[in-house]
Symmetry: C2
Amino acid sequence: MTDSPWKAAGDRQSEREAKRIAVLTVAAQAFNETGYHATSLDDIARRLNVSKPTIYYYVKNKEEILFECARMGLELMEEAANEVIGSGGSVYDELIAVMHKYAEIVTMDFGMCLIRVGEEPLNAESRRTLRTLKRGIDAKFRSLIQRGIEAGEIVPCDAKVAAFMLAGALSWIARWYRPDGPLTPQQIADQHIALIMSGLRVRGG
Amino acid sequence: MTDSPWKAAGDRQSEREAKRIAVLTVAAQAFNETGYHATSLDDIARRLNVSKPTIYYYVKNKEEILFECARMGLELMEEAANEVIGSGGSVYDELIAVMHKYAEIVTMDFGMCLIRVGEEPLNAESRRTLRTLKRGIDAKFRSLIQRGIEAGEIVPCDAKVAAFMLAGALSWIARWYRPDGPLTPQQIADQHIALIMSGLRVRGG
């Protein structure tokens, strides 16, 4: 049997999707390194060794790229939380595991882009979509903290404030993390989580 | 003696500066409410009940407004830290006091604009200037934490990571704080600082 010189529709579809993800990944890297405003579609095409019209085959414009990068960052967080929650172990262990994944994601291309550039340059509808996704992740943190309080593992506190506090502490990593810095994402996550859970104050001090 | 119909040069200068601050304040409010990209100079002029040419008398363009808003946010933080540090009291009390002021500033117009919009839309030179100011504030937090560790008041940790952790937790307030929300800036600051210092984990649990 001779292979058809035309690819099956499914293969073409997945190849197109893989190339689209490549465009988004390289764009996120460019945004993270030199800034969203300072990056043009020409810059992205150059990084990919393709022409600008090729880019337009996968995405409509720079705004769509940013929206998709931020959405993928949020979806990674959502999936990570879904994987961990209800997987067994104490609610405390689940919270630690979700924090670890969150910290890891903000050091990666899409997660970093989500925090460094964010939704600010996008139109109102795109911003609304991203905010809805964010609220979903925030709700998961709040619920974990609330369950932790009820289980006597987390200090009695306003779960909303605590969820924002830890999301802020972990998200900020995206603002200062450098792949060539002295700490690995794993070490940064460990140190942040230890401080968030145990506090900065010497106990009994 | 009859008052001169011409104002003294000093008065004119301070009046101009007051109006310039008013332009920046109203612009920061607009950026925080509707976003930097969605806000035009026309919108800012409308909020001030003046014409667009009047705005140009005080600032060159929207980028200059954002730069000045972010710079003022950072200067408020710098001044607050300088006021507290070395004012007496333990290094622990100084750290708490600086954190309180920082948390308060990010709920105010310029501080909120610094975090919500940030330096991302600005040119490389402006971004460099703001980053230098940020490094100065970060250095103050690190130094307080380092002194706290040496005094046995803060847990032994990497002062750099701890400074980023608390700056992240406190800065994030600017992203979700609403003046019409149920918590006052003071309550939000108190709750954040309590969690950062004591940790989320039940002690002895």
